[in-house]
């Protein structure tokens, strides 16, 4: 009798163990730090809906994300800049770019005696960061800031020392509005800066700007919103001065969505449209079209579908701009092309 009793318990235990093992899915990813707060939120919320799915994300940086997905050490990657054609070729399979949310980069400054919000044009920002405009009372700055008394203080340029998606968006914009920037400096997550001092991360740049009289730098919109830092408006493609906000970033995306390429690898800096904020960008998830682990692929597909639809409602609280509706519809079709069996 006692023998029976034992084996029964054992059988139940083994069975239970087997079913748990079969259901529990773990997926690992790595990449950009910029969308990490919302990704972390998404994974936690999705885990509440599907307790059997655990998605881990390491915010190591876009470059690391691209390297790791290429080496297949993670199931998915994430990047703030699209992969280059060479990087796509180096990967062992076709990698899809799926935009998840939008972000923006804003100019912050610290000018003694100036409390009014400054207006910048693209060429002015480019010339400041090229080291060609060196004084705050330069006629080029004064021209677009009528009514503001600008001091003759030296401009101190502050930029990121670490490679960063934020830098990528910023210099991508500068390259679009300044041929000289495009030729002399170019676009990358880290560049050969013509002038200025550098610090790591948004808070490092913000600290330099806060401490140094006459400093100008750039940080993510989310960071500026969270720390309530003052930032300037930037003139957009249509000639309007626009302040960065969730709405003006979405407006830039909506314009870009009208001519969205099939692979989504598009830069939306300097987008047309009256309300569009010009230094905006998508951030992308990177997924193999034909992944090795089909069980993980199935779960991941379901997660991405949720993130693009229900998940978008978490954007506003965290300072991200949600995707335009037509981009989501387009992406859901692309998502269906991922091989899950």
């Amino acid at each position: 009798m006692s023998k029976h009793w034992w084996s029964g318990v054992l059988a139940v235990a083994v069975l239970a163990g087997a079913t748990v093992a079969a259901q529990k899915v773990q997926i690992n990813g790595a990449g950009a730090t910029f969308p990490a707060p919302i990704y972390t939120k998404w994974f936690a919320e999705y885990n509440k809906l599907h307790p059997d799915v655990q998605i881990n994300y390491q915010p190591l940086g876009s470059g690391a994300g691209i390297r790791q997905i290429t080496a297949r050490t993670v199931f998915f990657g994430a990047s703030d800049g699209p992969m280059t054609p060479e990087q796509m070729q180096a990967a062992p399979g076709k990698i899809l770019h799926l935009p998840t949310v939008l972000g923006a980069v804003v100019p912050i400054y610290n000018i003694p005696g100036v409390s009014k919000e400054l207006q910048f044009t693209g060429p002015v920002l480019a010339d400041i960061f090229l080291g060609k405009i060196t004084k705050w009372n330069d006629p080029a700055i004064a021209k677009v800031n009528a009514g503001v008394t600008l001091p003759s203080a030296d401009i101190v340029v502050a930029h990121r020392s670490d490679g960063s998606g934020t830098t990528y968006i910023w210099v991508d914009y500068l390259a679009k509005v300044s041929p000289e920037w495009k030729k002399r400096v170019g676009v990358n997550t880290s560049v050969n800066w013509p002038t200025g001092v550098a610090a790591a991360k948004n808070d490092g740049v913000a600290a330099i700007v806060a401490q140094t009289p006459g400093a100008i730098g750039y940080v993510e919109l989310i960071y500026a919103l969270q720390t309530k830092a003052a930032y300037g408006t930037v003139q957009n493609y249509n000639g309007k001065f626009v302040k960065a906000s969730v709405e003006s970033v979405t407006a830039a995306a909506a314009e870009a969505a009208k001519s969205m390429p099939a692979d989504y690898r598009v830069s939306i800096t300097n987008a047309p449209g009256d309300g569009a904020y010009p230094i905006s960008s998508f951030t992308w998830l990177l997924l193999y079209q034909d992944p090795k682990d089909k069980a993980q692929a199935k779960v991941m597909n379901d997660f991405v579908k949720w993130a693009l639809t229900d998940g978008q409602k978490f954007c506003g609280d965290l300072g991200y701009a949600p995707l335009p509706k037509n981009v989501v519809d387009m992406e859901l079709k692309t998502l269906a092309t991922i091989k899950t069996q």
Partner: protein
């Protein structure tokens, strides 16, 4: 017979551990070499001389980083060595007994602070202080290349000062232990000959000179490799400059800053090659300090042999 085999086993066992350490050093060197092959083949010796660091066009040169590392560490050494030595002498030779323990405790506490905390302190306290110093520098002094440039606060001076503060506890702790190891009989001998306190201390310093140089070189080694605190205050600008006010860059800092986002293979390899260069420079610095200590050890003690001036006067 049994003791014999035990002996062999013991020798082989400890020998294996000794080999492990050599193997680890060799493995690090090898990995640094293979992972930087692209950059080594593309740039060759040019890598050591070029001043351009341009991830966009794929042009990489280590010269500003080598310069920044050596310059900041040397400056830190110049500032820290006298201070560390002063602390060590005071604590081991001059301080009253009740002050000794708290002083030792506080210096050791400084050594235990994580470097990121030093970095934060550097950003919020040291850098504004240095900026005020730079703003207050008179124009005629600014004409000297050593003090030229805009008053940014971030730059070589802040980095060197911060490094010096970080290095002092290391050097002073070791120098103190070395001084403590000087046999009491040496001091008693000096006093017996009529030496003053200062002369007796000088004698102890001479006796302990190899250890003291070793203590300072250890601090230098730490300054060479220090990463987080330096990158937070040095300004991270890859340009060679003798100016203390200029923002510069170090080897460890550029690796920490750019590695995570470097997607391009050549960029990654160039960063790893910087690691290789840092590895090589650390080896050379260590080797040189060993040689220096060795030559000191062989020096005959002229003062110990000659009668002390005080003894003469007496």
């Amino acid at each position: 017979m049994k003791t014999r085999s035990d002996e062999i086993l013991f020798r082989a066992g400890t020998g294996a551990f000794a080999v492990v350490i050599i193997a680890i050093v060799a493995a690090i060197g090898w990995v640094l070499y293979t992972d930087s092959a692209d950059s080594i083949w593309k740039f060759g010796w040019q890598f050591w001389q070029t001043e351009i660091w341009d991830p966009v066009s794929g042009e990489f040169g280590a010269r500003p980083f080598i310069w920044g590392t050596l310059y900041s560490s040397l400056l830190a050494l110049l500032i820290a060595a006298p201070v560390a030595l002063g602390i060590a002498i005071y604590v081991s030779e001059l301080s009253p007994g009740w002050a000794q323990r708290p002083l030792v405790f506080v210096t050791e506490l400084l050594a235990a602070i994580p470097s990121i905390v030093y970095g934060l302190w550097g950003i919020f306290v040291l850098v504004p202080f240095v900026r005020r110093l730079e703003t207050g520098t008179p124009e005629w002094l600014k004409a000297v290349p050593l003090f030229s440039g805009p008053p940014l606060g971030l730059g070589m001076l802040s980095a060197a000062l911060l490094l010096a503060i970080m290095v002092v506890p290391f050097s002073s702790s070791i120098a103190r232990e070395v001084l403590r190891a000087v046999p009491q009989s040496q001091r008693e001998g000096a006093y017996a000959l009529g030496a003053t306190r200062w002369e007796a201390i000088r004698m102890a310093l001479f006796y302990a000179r190899t250890g003291i140089v070793g203590a300072i070189m250890l601090g230098f080694g730490r300054a060479l490799g220090e990463t987080m605190a330096v990158t937070m205050v040095i300004g991270n600008t890859p340009r060679v400059s003798v100016s203390l006010f200029a923002p510069q860059y170090t080897m460890a800092a550029v690796i920490a800053n750019e590695f995570a986002e470097a997607a391009d293979q050549l960029h990654v390899h160039a960063l790893v090659e910087i690691g290789l260069v840092l590895f090589a420079i650390t080896l050379v610095v260590n080797g040189l300090s060993r040689a220096f200590i060795w030559s000191l050890g062989r020096q005959r003690a002229p003062r110990a042999a000659a009668p002390l001036p005080a003894a003469e006067a007496a």
